[in-house]
């Protein structure tokens, strides 16, 4: 029995690793064509789905002919998929001009705009939610009477249970006009998306921080009070240092959610592939780009989306591990 139990728990733990590595490999394979095509320039290129005219010289044609012969079957399938985006010919109109014969267009994809959009929305959300979440947690853990703390605690947990689509609809119909009235500009923007995202991650941060604050031993607090510390001093010098690990944990969890949030942001960010020049400009984030374009994507476009997914995976992984190793090490 003991052995079976041990084996079971070991296999559960390895399963997580297997899934994680499996996802990474799948993403990498699906993104491979885009990685080969664009390389690391993808990360700094702000043009998404842009047609670029390629002048073909004779040597290039010769090279292409050669490679065509080599992998004819694969190429044929590819052609067909790219075909789907082409204009079909009409009987009463010639769709292409003669002077286009010498030119060929290719579509290029760059991920800079969604990458910047993702990081900025997360930053805004964090900047908005962090102080409020700390305030809520301190109030609930230390200041509020028991029954009030109980009620507010339930309200916060309920907030965490609201599906993100509801935040999206609420944000679009009620919150966005208010934001636009206050700061001007478009209703759907980086700011609107970031603020709603902040409201969404608020309950996670508040609830976990409160719980970790509650673990502060009563003896510590009482000794501080006995030495004449004020409530503020106790919170600042005893509770915060003691529950530091838990607070950082809550920030990491919230970060993870903010980086990957899709549905609510999709309604609120404006979804255009343009770098924002002000905080109330519309732009796009990685999950939104994927959700919006996956249904109709094919060929290189689909692969570019997988490339974005891979980047998001790496960003989340990097942000969370940096936070974990750096802050937690400091805390101990």
């Amino acid at each position: 029995m003991e052995k079976i139990f041990q084996k079971l728990s070991i296999s559960s733990a390895t399963l997580v690793f297997v899934i994680l590595i499996g996802i990474f490999i799948t993403l990498f394979i699906a993104a491979k064509p885009a990685i080969d095509e664009f390389g690391f320039d993808f990360i700094v290129n702000p043009d998404w789905n842009k047609e670029v005219v390629v002048e073909i010289t004779d040597t290039q044609i010769a090279v292409e002919d050669l490679s065509d012969q080599g992998n004819e079957i694969i190429d044929e399938d590819d052609m067909e998929i790219t075909d789907e985006d082409d204009i079909i010919e009409d009987e009463d109109e010639v769709m292409f001009d003669e002077d286009e014969e010498g030119t060929l267009t290719t579509t290029i994809y760059g991920g800079l705009v969604p990458i910047v959009g993702t990081l900025l929305t997360t930053l805004i959300a964090l900047a908005f939610a962090l102080p409020i979440a700390m305030g809520i947690a301190v109030f609930l853990a230390e200041i509020a009477p028991k029954n009030i703390s109980h009620i507010v605690g339930i309200a916060i947990e309920l907030l965490a249970a609201i599906p993100s689509i509801i935040f999206g609809m609420w944000g679009l119909y009620y919150f966005a006009p208010i934001v636009a009235d206050l700061v001007g500009g478009y209703q759907v923007s980086l700011l609107t998306a970031g603020l709603v995202l902040g409201v969404m991650i608020l309950p996670f941060m508040a609830a976990i921080t409160r719980d970790s604050m509650n673990t502060t031993p009563g003896v510590l607090k009482e000794s501080a009070y006995a030495l004449g510390a004020t409530k503020f001093e106790v919170i600042k010098d005893i509770i915060f240092p003691y529950s530091r690990t838990g607070i950082i944990g809550s920030i990491i969890l919230a970060l993870g959610r903010a980086l990957g949030e899709t549905m609510a942001v999709a309604f609120l960010i404006g979804s255009i592939f343009v770098l924002p020049s002000a905080i109330n400009d519309p732009t796009i984030s990685i999950p939104v780009a994927m959700a919006n374009n996956f249904g109709e994507a094919s060929g290189l476009g689909e692969s570019a989306l997988f490339y974005l997914a891979l980047i998001l995976f790496v960003i989340s992984f990097a942000v969370i591990s940096i936070a974990k190793f750096y802050f937690l090490k400091k805390a101990h």
Partner: protein, 334 residues
């Protein structure tokens, strides 16, 4: 205990296998989804046959049809006869819809948009409402000097494909630089994207001095003001079911070419220009299920007209449905 589990398992397997024989599975374009959804419900009530249609987008619908994952697929972009033959697919139109130019400019009613104005709005070259291109056709309206916001679909969609196809037909410049696509990165710096047609509708309603393309059904349901649009003959046509029908009747959909044509910008003095047909793909080798599918579609052509019109779509004209029936007959799938 085990006995009970076995019985339960056996009965679920039995039930699903019984059901499976009667379900017609479809997937694809989201543009006609609302119509198909109501049609299949009405058909189910009438005949007891269950039809499922999942909206995944045209591209995924085409993929499903090629992979034989479904009994029929919806697509807004027709496939050429060559591609159809290669993949063993048959194609015919399902329903016709229309795209309108919705706008929100306080104090402006009955806005008229010429062909060149629509292209200039889409490519971002019109920045303010009192631009000469718009003002030219609206002499009796006082246009404000306000910044114009162009609202478009953020997600890939058949609506965008049909709108950009129309733009490509109207403007050579557009055709050269953008073409017809299900999603594109829009030019200019004063546009915003809404997710789904409802998202576009919400943005149009809430953003003053905005204009955008949206399907007729969503524009009507959301009380969005629709512009009168110049057609091929230079007449300004109000978007109504009647003008859509006139346009659909002029469309040249030829059974010899598997109805391969996009019907945007049709001829006719009274035709509304921004109309779009959406198509159905079926695998040619599944004769039995195909007969079930065509029976369902045929029922919809005959009995689904009111449903389609209620949702802002145009039922296919009788002359066309007769051609489609002949096409089915010729392919032995009627």
């Amino acid at each position: 205990m085990t006995q009970m589990i076995k019985i339960a398992l056996a009965s679920t397997v039995l039930l699903t296998s019984l059901n499976a024989g009667e379900i017609i599975k479809g997937s694809g374009a989201s543009f006609p989804y609302s119509v198909y959804q109501k049609w299949l419900k009405a058909y189910n009530k009438e005949s007891g046959v269950r039809v499922d249609y999942i909206k995944k987008g045209s591209s995924k619908g085409i993929k499903d049809a090629k992979a034989r994952a479904v009994d029929f697929a919806g697509t807004d972009k027709p496939l050429s006869p060559k591609v159809l033959r290669k993949n063993g697919l048959l194609q015919f139109p399902g329903v016709v819809g229309a795209i309108t130019m919705g706008y929100n400019v306080p104090g402006v009613d009955g806005l008229k948009l010429s062909r060149s104005a629509i292209v200039a709005i889409a490519d971002g070259s019109i920045t303010h409402w009192d631009d000469a291109l718009i003002a030219k056709e609206n002499a009796n309206v006082k246009l404000p000097h306000e910044k114009l916001t162009f609202v478009h679909r953020a997600d890939g969609s058949g609506t965008t494909y049909n709108f950009t196809y129309y733009l490509s037909k109207v403007s050579k410049k557009w055709r050269k630089s953008f073409g017809a696509k299900k999603s594109l990165s829009w030019p200019g710096d004063h546009h915003i994207g809404g997710k789904t047609n409802s998202g576009v509708a919400a943005l149009l309603k809430q953003t003053e001095y905005s204009v955008g393309y949206i399907d007729y059904a969503d524009a009507k349901n959301n009380d969005i003001t629709m512009a009168t649009v110049e057609n091929r003959e230079g007449n300004f046509i109000v978007p109504t079911l009647k003008s859509f029908q006139t346009a659909a009747a002029k469309a040249s959909l030829d059974p010899k070419k598997d109805f391969y044509a996009v019907i945007a910008d049709p001829k006719g003095a009274e035709s509304y220009p921004m109309v779009a047909a959406t198509f159905i793909l079926i695998p040619s080798e599944k004769a039995k299920t195909n007969k079930d599918v065509t029976k369902f579609i045929d029922w919809c052509y005959v009995n689904g007209q009111d449903i389609a019109m209620g949702l802002g779509f145009v039922p296919l004209p009788d002359s066309l449905t007769a051609k489609i029936r002949a096409y089915w007959d010729a392919k032995g799938i009627k």
